[in-house]
Symmetry: C2
Subunit: 269 residues, 2 copies
């Protein structure tokens, strides 16, 4: 092993592994959520603060306004951020379609795992763009359930995932919105758009993601819609249960699972 460019040795492979794939979902989507010092950033719909705690802690020299429509969620988010002793976040109740801010006051706007739930994502992005300053950066991060594939493959597992997609669509949302980030950011007139896919590839050489992503994040989420999907006749109980079993099967030592998030950046003209 004379050549350091050679990726065939164990230590080089480790470097490639780290480069390819962080160990946790937070690292995969937020490794580069870094704002310049003293940025004034709007986080649009923060929910209970799951992303807020990561991005605020990663950017101690920036100040965040995190908004959500739900006072209940904001209450939980406030408690979480306080418990972590994070001091650079101010929470405020607000409607994404009509923000209580003047034009062009934020250096950056970040919207993370939110657009998938909206009836009118373009309208929300247009409103977010309004409060962004000229030359400011918009960041949008979304998953895409249609990007999911795995080994062993399973029709029942795909049917179970499709329940989530259909229920989200019934609610006016879009579980496959990740792939649409590029046209969405383009449609509101941003420049220098870059969409960076963040594939969460998991096999048993990545045990933290086997537990943290396949089992506790993705499959648990799909499992959560089972009762509703069966009740609505979208799927029969046995097929759903087999689908969930088959998703857990991909977490076995010879299994493989892949899901892709998309992170889009754009600049306000």
């Amino acid at each position: 092993m004379e050549n350091t460019e050679y990726v065939h040795g164990y230590s080089d492979r480790e470097a490639l592994r780290l480069n390819d794939q962080a160990d946790t979902l937070d690292n995969i989507i937020h490794n580069d959520t870094i704002f310049p010092k003293d940025s004034f950033v709007l986080e649009a719909s923060c929910g209970v603060g799951a992303q807020t705690k990561i991005i605020a802690a990663k950017n101690p020299d920036s100040n965040f306004i995190s908004v959500d429509i739900s006072e209940d969620s904001l209450g939980e988010a406030r408690q979480l951020i306080k418990s972590l002793d994070i001091k650079n976040v101010e929470f405020r109740q607000a409607d994404l379609y009509g923000l209580p801010f003047e034009d062009g006051i934020f250096d950056s706007v970040i919207v993370c795992l939110v657009l998938e739930h909206l009836h009118h994502p373009k309208q929300a992005l247009t409103e977010l763009n309004r409060v962004l300053k000229k030359g400011g950066t918009m960041i949008a991060i979304e998953g895409d359930h249609g990007s999911t594939f795995f080994y062993p493959d399973s029709k029942s597992a795909h049917s179970a995932i499709d329940c989530q997609v259909r229920l989200q669509r019934q609610n006016g949302g879009n579980s496959n919105i990740g792939r649409e980030l590029y046209p969405l950011l383009k449609s509101i007139g941003l420049s220098d758009i870059l969409v960076s896919p963040r594939m969460v590839y998991v096999d048993s050489s990545r045990p933290q993601l086997v537990e943290g992503f396949i089992k506790n994040t993705f499959t648990a989420m799909i499992e959560g819609v089972g009762d509703k999907a069966v009740r609505q006749g979208i799927i029969d109980k046995l097929t759903f249960e087999k689908g969930i079993k088959d998703l857990y099967r991909t977490a076995e030592p010879d299994g493989v699972f892949s899901y892709t998030f998309f992170k889009g950046f754009g600049t306000k003209k």
Copy 2:
């Protein structure tokens, strides 16, 4: 933009774009196909030399033996390599399931876009492992048609892709083998296995891949199986034609296309 870690400026975004995604498929799958100086490498089934010309040119200080079962293909490969004035490749007719080499003579073995065509990929890998020296590196690269997704989404386009998958299966192959690389490399007893996904994500900000990958590689390949698929009754002509039209549609300015190759590395114990 005071902070150089900040990926929000144009030049930083360019760096991320380059890091994420090379402009050509060759770069995406072969950027790190670098062998140590003086390596003796077996390329298993070289076909007409499409990969040979890339890996041999990238490794001028290594020597390659490239084998294929077909004398016709080898003839074309020889001509191609000669026309490019590449001098570090020797071609030889050989059967992957019974190689004409002694045990443990190669420093590395590379098998690229081959396993998808085989009836018995594990058996072929076992034979390749036999001729690899202890501590030597095996590299396997495969695509996965089931990883394909795009915007706008289209059932007809997925049906057209599925024709290729079904015809490949009829021939004893597996178009979705990329996701199986990890269990396959594990099953032959390699150590330090790393599977690195190589997503080819394409939107109109990557014009070279729009032309080179969406249109001229992927859709052209699917288009090529149309007559056979229609003749065999796998699909009706109108659906197939709509599917192809919809695949070309993803190459428009607001379209998005994604396909994933997998590159696996392992060490012989």
